[in-house]
């Protein structure tokens, strides 16, 4: 994150806690509607794991939280090389025939989600995958949509949105002039 011009970075007014509450309600409703019991929650490093931790507690899920680092599944290795810092993925239980809720902080091009799903299917064959994101900022380059969205924010070209954490969680908007 670039803070060299603080005038161009400002916090987004929404209370992240309230957004997480509404995502929790939406996920409960969706699971009931789709007859999903005992889903497994998996967060994508790094921001997605922070969001998933909150949802995991709010939903009272018994299976431990999983985490994915998609560095080895990215589609830009041949252009960008390997990311210098990788975290271990941690999938604590078998995914075979289980319903998964995949969690990320910001949904943008959809490429991260594609990579995450490729990795998930190398760990097993889940019964279903539901996507929950804190923020949908638009700008999709792939046919991927989230099932549960906390906030929809239309950003101007060149603008970025970033979740800072792990505690407290704050959404920052940065880039183009205010």
């Amino acid at each position: 994150m670039s803070d060299d011009n603080p005038a161009q970075t400002h916090q987004i007014g929404a209370d992240v806690g309230l957004v997480l509450d509404s995502m929790t309600t939406a996920l409960r409703g969706l699971c009931a509607q789709r007859h999903i019991q005992a889903p497994i929650l998996i967060g994508i490093h790094t921001g997605g794991v922070w969001v998933a931790e909150r949802l995991h507690a709010r939903l009272g899920i018994e299976d431990p939280l999983g985490s994915l680092d998609i560095s080895f599944y990215r589609d830009d290795f041949t252009r960008a090389g390997m990311h210098p810092q990788v975290h271990p993925s941690n999938i604590p239980v078998s995914l075979d025939n289980r319903h998964l809720i995949l969690v990320d902080d910001v949904l943008f091009t959809g490429r991260t989600i594609r990579a995450a799903m490729n990795e998930l299917f190398d760990h097993g064959r889940p019964a279903s995958v539901t996507l929950a994101v804190l923020v949908d900022r638009g700008g999709r380059e792939l046919p991927i949509q989230a099932d549960v969205v906390g906030l929809r924010i239309a950003l101007d070209a060149g603008e970025q949105i970033k979740l800072t954490g792990p505690a407290p969680l704050q959404l920052l908007r940065q880039g183009a002039a205010p």
Binding site: F72, T78, G81, M82, P84, V86, S89, D122
Partner: protein, 323 residues
């Protein structure tokens, strides 16, 4: 300029531990830690190096090193070609550079090189085009850096990341061992508390204390006392004919790692060996198969460490303007 690093300090070729900074060694181990999880996936591979071609060029025989490099490349989804040069072109009189030119004409992206002459991997690295990376899989008596890194990874798994509180002993033929040389550089770079070498005078370079900053012992009974890690080196049987050693039996008698000698080390000491082991020569079977032995773990870790080194040094087409 360091041939092994690019202008941003990232791995470019992997030729020798000497010359690599501590953070690169730590980054290799951290990346290997992540790759070791790939083996536990239902599908034991990742698509990272899909579409890349890796050629294992082995001018010297090796089963374990070649197969773990091959498996590492396959787990990264690269295409792998194994060339045993001693049985092909070299015997027909082709020069090293001609062989390489042919391999480059096949659009290879990486060479993994083993050769009986010191400096071969570096020589090749100086002659490849910018998009090709070179990894040293052992050159003469010079270096075997992936072996050293898998050993460091194994030590870190068992003893934690603070090497400063560790005493590590390397036992055996230091003189002819590229493994020992790379291990000592890695242990020093990782700021190991005390590095000891234990060897007969005939198998120890004269200046090892000054050149490599290690503590020298000539008797295992002295050197093994209170160490946390024991690394046994393979005794190459051909040394026996060169009047450096009397006999295998006598070597075992004076230098072999037995239960009694192991008992001198710290109670939770681990026993390592780069393999292949000579049972009853440098190590007693009871010790090699015992609770403190991590010799087979080393082999497993070799795959993850080699995946890390390959992924980190593979050129992306976006850097340096290389095609």
């Amino acid at each position: 300029m360091n041939l092994q690093l690019d202008d941003q300090g990232r791995l470019r070729h992997f030729l020798d531990i000497a010359g690599l900074p501590r953070d690169v060694l730590i980054n290799i181990m951290d990346t290997a830690e992540k790759f070791s999880g790939v083996t536990e996936q239902a599908v034991k591979k990742v698509p990272l190096l899909r579409g890349k071609t890796i050629v294992n060029v082995f001018f010297e025989n090796s089963t374990r090193t070649r197969t773990t490099f091959e498996l590492a490349a396959k787990r990264l989804s690269a295409d792998v070609l194994n060339l045993n040069i001693s049985t092909s072109s070299a015997s027909k009189g082709e020069t090293l550079l001609d062989t390489l030119a042919n391999l480059q004409a096949m659009h290879s992206d990486m060479f993994v090189v083993r050769h009986e002459d010191s400096g071969t991997a570096e020589f090749i690295a100086r002659h490849v085009p910018p998009h090709v990376a070179v990894i040293n899989a052992g050159d003469g008596r010079h270096a075997h850096p992936t072996q050293a890194m898998l050993d460091m990874f194994t030590i870190r798994r068992h003893k934690g990341s603070d090497f400063g509180r560790l005493r590590v002993a390397i036992v055996g033929d230091i003189m002819h061992s590229r493994v020992a040389r790379s291990q000592i550089h890695a242990l020093n770079t990782l700021l190991t508390g005390e590095v000891r070498v234990i060897a007969p005078r005939t198998l120890l370079p004269g200046n090892v204390r000054e050149a490599l900053g290690v503590h020298v012992f000539h008797r295992p009974e002295e050197g093994l006392r209170d160490v946390d890690v024991i690394i046994m080196l393979r005794l190459q049987k051909e040394r026996m004919s060169g009047a450096l050693l009397p006999s295998e039996h006598e070597y075992f008698q004076y230098w072999g790692l037995t239960q009694e000698r192991l008992a001198l080390a710290a109670p939770d000491a681990i026993v390592m060996h780069p393999g292949p082991i000579n049972r009853g020569v440098e190590i007693d079977s009871v010790v090699a198969d015992g609770d403190q032995s991590v010799i087979l773990e080393q082999v497993t870790h070799g795959i993850a460490v080699r995946m890390a080194v390959m992924a980190m040094s593979m050129r992306s087409s976006g850097t340096e303007g290389a095609a």
